[in-house]
Amino acid sequence: MNRNIVIIGGGIAGMEATKSLLALGYTPILIESQPYLGGHVAQWHKLFPDMSSARELVDRLRKEIAAANLFLGTDVVSMNRLANGWTLKLSNGIVINAAALLISTGFKLFDAARKEEYGYGIYENVITNADLESWFSGESDWRIPQNPQAVGFVHCVGSRDLKACNSQCSKVCCATAIKQAIEIREHFPFAKVYCFYMDLRLFGKKYEDFYANAQRDYGVQFIRGRVSEVGETFDHRLQVKAEDTLSGKPLKLQLDMLVLMAGIVRNQSVQSISDMAGLETDSDGFLRSSDNEYGVVESGQPGIFYAGACTGPKTVPETVAEARSAALQIHSYLKDK
């Protein structure tokens, strides 16, 4: 009997599901379009709220799934429904018959240059959350000043923004901004750090403590209001205009660096897979689960399951929990066949 399980997407959702399926006695096939595993987490420095190393998590998972069949830098080019599963053709020419599929294609970060008023790609010291993580991880970045006196973070860049065609909350940006603000203060103890937010959505375990720490122990200032425009001063600092909606006053600040918290949007590359498999997308552009309360990892099509941010923004613990859940669902599905 065919017990092939194909996992499309090698981020932490795909890796964790692979690990769980190996433990259940399967040898899953993991396909990742990038030449490396770990997805966005592999590019991240530390994870909130415990400030654990993202790289260590990915390295640990990589070792734990060494027994699986891995195809890196590989795309699915075609997919056909069979009576008892699916046949997939890969970009390396290999054809696989699969009894079950797990989609874990993740998300894309919003292109911050689309919010033109923030000046990403226009002003030298405007960067994104992802750029800052790369720098924290040791990558050099000429846009990050040597000794900044003032640094700003803009929450909800491309999230909860109808003009950016994304009305949904990206869920992880508030806590990420707090984490990065703390890290900036650790790198530059004399820098003033400001966070411009709409609402602070700190729903997870210890997030509220994290927020209190940022204010009490690191002196991060939180300003409730959106940034309206960014310009450059004569001495090449950034001039940021915003409204402090709590005091009801307009605000103008000069900063040395502005970090845009680019939100989570659907991964466009998943479109071809959803078209080939006949999967539905939800109103937010992400893949539609069969049930948003009780069947988040189920696609509604027999033999196809979801894990992670392909169905919407997720934190790392949520992603890991979904991956384990999906693995058990697949096991249950194959056992019943």
Partner: protein, 356 residues
């Protein structure tokens, strides 16, 4: 500024601008403020570039000033605009070119409103028919007159007699470009270059040899802002906005400001005198102000026209320092002579800002 990033945005916000056959409508106020600007535009388009540009004396206000001062509802402005479109249709044109930025914004807003709410367009058509028995086609293309000069900036550069280069130093002149708020802030896709980094005037400046200044308050309103000025009690607010812009651009030592709006050149020009009276501060060199020109006046200077024929003597801020930098020859004794050499009489000159 990362120029490649700006170029990327500029390439994202280009619009179709037909090369010929335009129906031109003048501004309510520009001929009073800067009387040669629209005359120079029609001369450049028709006589210098040889294009077809049509005007009708039956054109009226678009209602934009009243609309933005909250004295008429949008439906009234729509019916006025519908009549303008009927005049264009009767004349056999489909490319519509307003001289006024507020008109341009008004037309763009109304066309977008009709696209979203076709039942409203149907009602306005009915109202227009009842009022004056006219019918209309909507313009196929809508472009502001600065869009057209932007479109033909290369043709003008090829005919240039003077460039935006300081003849004493060989350096490009430093130019502030100020875009009228109603140009692209409401509909970024309607403006060349979008709303945040428009290239409609920057493109002219760079094509004619100048250097564009990006200063922190570049996007800020000139200070006119309709109710900021027309409601007399708010005029201090109008002045403070203009003052904010000058304080922001001061470190860059601009040689010139150009604008594409009826109100902006007026307020950026006149308020410099008021600021000088109130604070004793001037922003140009040696007690002068910073000259403020319309893009048509600047095109006229580039093409070699006499500055007094361009009406530059009617500016509050003296333009002579700019003329000297550009190497434009002029007759100081002819400054206050009219086109027929009639003496217009020299006005009393202020002491707070250097004038001639």
């Amino acid at each position: 500024m990362i120029l490649e990033g700006r170029q990327k945005i500029w390439s994202d916000y280009q619009k179709d601008i037909p090369d010929d056959h335009w129906y031109y409508v003048r501004s309510c106020i520009r001929q009073n403020f800067f009387p040669a600007s629209e005359r120079m535009f029609t001369h450049i388009v028709k006589d210098v570039l040889g294009k077809d540009l049509y005007e009708t004396p039956h054109h009226t206000t678009c209602g934009g000033i009243a609309y933005h001062c909250d004295t008429i509802p949008q439906e009234t402005a729509m019916t006025i605009v519908a009549r303008q479109f009927a005049l264009m249709t009767e004349a056999g044109y489909e490319n519509y070119c307003p001289s006024c930025i507020t008109s341009f914004g008004n037309y763009a807003e109304i066309l977008e409103t009709w696209r979203e709410f076709p039942e409203l367009e149907a009602r306005i058509r009915e109202d227009l028919w009842k009022a004056c028995r006219k019918e209309f086609n909507k313009p196929k293309y809508l472009a502001h007159s600065s869009d057209l000069i932007y479109h033909w900036r290369g043709d003008i550069a090829r005919r240039a007699k003077k460039l935006l280069i300081n003849v004493n130093t060989g350096e490009p002149l430093r130019v502030v470009e100020h875009i009228g708020c109603h140009y692209a802030k409401m509909f970024p896709s309607k403006g060349v270059g979008g709303a945040e980094y428009p290239c409609v005037l920057a493109g002219m400046i760079e094509s004619w040899g100048g250097q564009v200044i990006d200063y922190p308050e570049r996007r800020h309103c000139c200070g006119y802002g309709f109710r900021q000025y027309h409601v007399k009690a708010n005029r201090g607010y109008s002045l403070s906005n203009t003052h904010k812009k000058f304080e922001s651009m001061e470190p860059y030592h601009p040689d010139l400001i150009i604008t594409n709006c009826p109100g902006c050149p007026y307020f950026l020009d006149r308020w410099q005198y008021v600021i000088a009276c109130q604070t004793g501060k001037t922003y140009g060199e040696n007690g002068h102000g910073i000259p403020v020109l319309t893009y048509e006046e600047l095109a006229g200077l580039v093409l070699g026209y006499d500055p007094w024929d361009l009406g530059l003597q009617l500016h509050q801020v003296a333009v002579e320092p700019l003329l000297q930098k550009m190497g434009v020859s002029y007759d100081p004794s002819a400054k206050y002579l009219g086109l027929n050499r009639e003496d217009l009489m020299k006005p009393e000159l202020p002491t707070s800002i250097k004038c001639y």
